[in-house]
Symmetry: D2
Amino acid sequence: MSNKIKVGIVGGTGYTGVELLRLLAPHPHAELHAITSRGEAGTAVADMFPNLRGHVSLKFTDPSSSSLKDCDVVFFATPHGVAMKQSQELLAAGVRIIDLAADYRLQDTAVFEKWYGMPHSEPELLRESVYGLPEVNRAKIKTARIVGNPGCYPTATQLGFLPLIESGCVDIAHLVADAKSGVSGAGRKAEVHTLFAEASDNFKAYGVSGHRHLPEISERLSVAAGKAVGLTFVPHLTPLIRGIHTTLYARITREEDFQALFEKRYASEPFVDVLPPKSHPETRSVRASNTCRIAVHRPQGGDTLVILSVIDNLVKGAAGQAVQNMNIMFGYDECAGLGQVPVLP
Amino acid sequence: MSNKIKVGIVGGTGYTGVELLRLLAPHPHAELHAITSRGEAGTAVADMFPNLRGHVSLKFTDPSSSSLKDCDVVFFATPHGVAMKQSQELLAAGVRIIDLAADYRLQDTAVFEKWYGMPHSEPELLRESVYGLPEVNRAKIKTARIVGNPGCYPTATQLGFLPLIESGCVDIAHLVADAKSGVSGAGRKAEVHTLFAEASDNFKAYGVSGHRHLPEISERLSVAAGKAVGLTFVPHLTPLIRGIHTTLYARITREEDFQALFEKRYASEPFVDVLPPKSHPETRSVRASNTCRIAVHRPQGGDTLVILSVIDNLVKGAAGQAVQNMNIMFGYDECAGLGQVPVLP
Amino acid sequence: MSNKIKVGIVGGTGYTGVELLRLLAPHPHAELHAITSRGEAGTAVADMFPNLRGHVSLKFTDPSSSSLKDCDVVFFATPHGVAMKQSQELLAAGVRIIDLAADYRLQDTAVFEKWYGMPHSEPELLRESVYGLPEVNRAKIKTARIVGNPGCYPTATQLGFLPLIESGCVDIAHLVADAKSGVSGAGRKAEVHTLFAEASDNFKAYGVSGHRHLPEISERLSVAAGKAVGLTFVPHLTPLIRGIHTTLYARITREEDFQALFEKRYASEPFVDVLPPKSHPETRSVRASNTCRIAVHRPQGGDTLVILSVIDNLVKGAAGQAVQNMNIMFGYDECAGLGQVPVLP
Amino acid sequence: MSNKIKVGIVGGTGYTGVELLRLLAPHPHAELHAITSRGEAGTAVADMFPNLRGHVSLKFTDPSSSSLKDCDVVFFATPHGVAMKQSQELLAAGVRIIDLAADYRLQDTAVFEKWYGMPHSEPELLRESVYGLPEVNRAKIKTARIVGNPGCYPTATQLGFLPLIESGCVDIAHLVADAKSGVSGAGRKAEVHTLFAEASDNFKAYGVSGHRHLPEISERLSVAAGKAVGLTFVPHLTPLIRGIHTTLYARITREEDFQALFEKRYASEPFVDVLPPKSHPETRSVRASNTCRIAVHRPQGGDTLVILSVIDNLVKGAAGQAVQNMNIMFGYDECAGLGQVPVLP
């Protein structure tokens, strides 16, 4: 017990917060030390999230009074803009930071400010921070003081496109990502359009003009390509609780054994599973787990590849990836605490 | 009463069958005369479909003994291959035919035989038959003896692509249709993959290698284009009962006012609703109605158009379109019996 | 057109409001004249509810400026407490009122004030008003100036219990109503517990200590019994959009042919369908329609009757029943505009 | 590894089978040795259940060729009637048996034969077998050769009623259990009524005349009471994948502190959680876990108690309880391998 790291969570009342708790409560190397919420200070976490009864005995504490500075690592499961404001103080106390919001995702502050409508208060920390996609940045994550945990759509989309882009075999000027998300991706805010009676038995696109995950995906794919990519990104809301399915379209510019390309790229990745040819990954095959499953298709032998990529948006798309990053940062087995078998049915 | 037409339905135990009954029971110009089912002969239709209690008093009759030949029009809501076998006899009796299966959709018999795995027994009738998409073939439908009612995906996809293709302003060699269907599209057959515990809270693509609706869409779009189109078509199963949402991608080759193009194309169509710019049509906005709603997007002002098109797969994608065809064939108001306000929520 | 009645709706932005519009737009004897909303004045109704595009051209108007007083009848689809405040002025202008909230349901003002936490400002109008369950109060509804439209649970529960209570054959001191409601019953307010990600794939009881529909049911059943009844009422939230299923338990105190009792009681009721013995009514068999379906069971021949009663909470449980009351009040065919075939699947 | 017990599963292609695999694959004391399926012999288990990719490497083997006799324990996740036929041979080989079907649930063979429509071929083994509800039979389970794992409804219902019945404070002649189950309870058989398009957005009772779990509950409650109980049991199908919610009604015959009664009864039970007064347990609060949560209500201070009891039908209602029984039988920590935090949302 004594050699577990102390973990703090800021803003634990949303879905990424409760998911962090589900994963961290039984984690072999982590000890929940503090969880803050301005509105719920004093409330037992398990009173708000009854699934945690018997697993988490902490109460929410007020952010000001909390002992976050005693922690080894603090996760921010907060709205955009919160983590940057508390970063300096925590870093000064030797605390490492994993932000599940967007404060440390986009490296270009101008782009951040355009899409998130607020100035970035810590441009230097932003430069220092590491984008926490382990399949790309593992070495940097190991030593990072601040990790910007990727968005859910960006995780599924990048993992699907990366092998193609890194190998330079497709037209990167005209990528298409048609993405579908379960409703938990919208968070636990009370809003009309995510009510059961609105979102159930219904399917719609949204944000076609421009979604905040578009610049994140574009930026990271451009880094991988070594030049700017062109991406059409269309998110959709589908009546699942959890799950993202991205259907990716790319025009072939150079022949390859595309199946082998993916298998080789992810051969040693513990959380990316390249399915056999002709497969159709289902979101439930990764439900409540940290796995991304990918299938590679070339319909009718034409010149357009179709890549299917699924994750659980709350796990590999948020809390699970954050724990994976924590494991890397602290030198633990990358899979520690992430061995959950997906829940099917 | 006496000047209503007599309507027969072959194979009324599936979802297109019960949906035909829902629409035809209160139809002002149609009288349900016979409904056949080999397995359910003698059963009251309302015993199988309790929503019809008080609305439909017919019993299923055996196909052999039934009085289909007394009808003015017969709908086939049967598996593929049934309608063609009964067509000659019915036509000889002066009955007009609307087939909701695929027997009279694909004009190229070789293509039919490849995708449906059976010979076409009536190639001459196939040549005579009319593809029943009123927005394209209204004049021919009026006088047709046999109408091949379009598939559900093909209806939503064609209505979304047609204005672009007819005007010749996009690259027709590389069209992408990413389509999502509710589970009723798979029919009322008992199969494991469409069980509630399999299909609920789950999302997946299927048939990426090749789905039967691909050749249908390609053939009709090629007719519209005057030359062969290239189409990548990826269908997905989404946990809705009813609804199809297609997200269509096309590269611009000539500038146009695309919103105006769509509005003009469908200005006089009673069942196609072009939404204002920036709209995101929801499947529930057409639930249980014969309307197709379409939105036109050009994300980030780039060179790729995104067209969103939604229908209720059982209505505009099947039974409603069949009734629309019947109205046209018999000279009724095209909207007769199809005025249902969509059910929301 | 000229001899249609003018209809006004106060508070048309919730689910009962949009459902009233769905039913009234094609109603043969009603003309939508005004629909008010403080927050949405100036917005086209069809912009908020896209299912109404092409069916309703009205805009919301501010309550103060609206021409409600020109109407023949005004429906209140508002929170509790609104209708009572506007009643005097409308009545003075000759307008008849149908309130879909609770202001005119409970005859005992003390009970109203206890359960709804507000004083009743119009006790005299309350005494004058008629409880709008046509199966009980048809004659009084015909001439009423104010109708208090029943709650959804009370409608399903009363229709299931009434034949037993009126005939005096069960122990009325220990009735049990175990009721399950779809989520639309909670309205279109943004609240966490009715979010898709909270209410989907989940089932729970709520309000076991006391739900506002308990006194309403008790009061009306007591009126039917001629003395106070004892009722245990447990509502549950179930992941449906629409639908209420009540499972009612009553101890037999006198033998009867219970099936015949129900069939006789409802023989001439257009919207109550007593199913054959051994039936299990499904909520979808009444989806989007004004019908209540009931089945009568006596398991194992024991001394406990089990009555199953289903309605669509937004139709027979709210807007449909309100239109039924309007039809009665204005002397139209009681079924006018209510002939919708339930939507299944 | 060497001191793990060898586990076999007969009939692993249904939901209880895949759930056993999800729980047993990471179990610290169990090693999956054989899994049989007549129809799927040779297929990798993970090809049928893609959630198990990376977790289970076994293939299905033919029942005849399989090495079940080398196992320490064999689970039967088969249709009723299979386990009894293979019991003698396995017992003779020293294998202990946990049957998840009904062969060893009902002690009265006549009752078994009436409700399951087949003779019981092993009445002596039935007499020897132990009903596997640990909260009642822990000591006997420890030494049992054959455990009959309880049904899902019976588990939730008994745990809710037992404290009342054991303490003799309610009228046991008129118990009411109103139970609601998710659709996975119907198994993974392809049947029309459990299709997504049938069971989604729908709610219905079924088997009101008599469900097979009625005699099981009655028999066990009668054992607890020391005399025959009278029970009205009404199961309902609700659109969840997993979860059972029972709402239990009992008339008080002797005053007690009912909350304290429940808390005391289950104080040392690791998998029964008595919630604080006024609570409403949600099925999702136990999703994918072995916990049963119970709340005790006395509405309006009347004479009728309402007990709410929720489980995951596939875990505490099937596979999890079976693993709990295995742990007890082999002297392991009863919670071994069953520490999963419920998945919410």
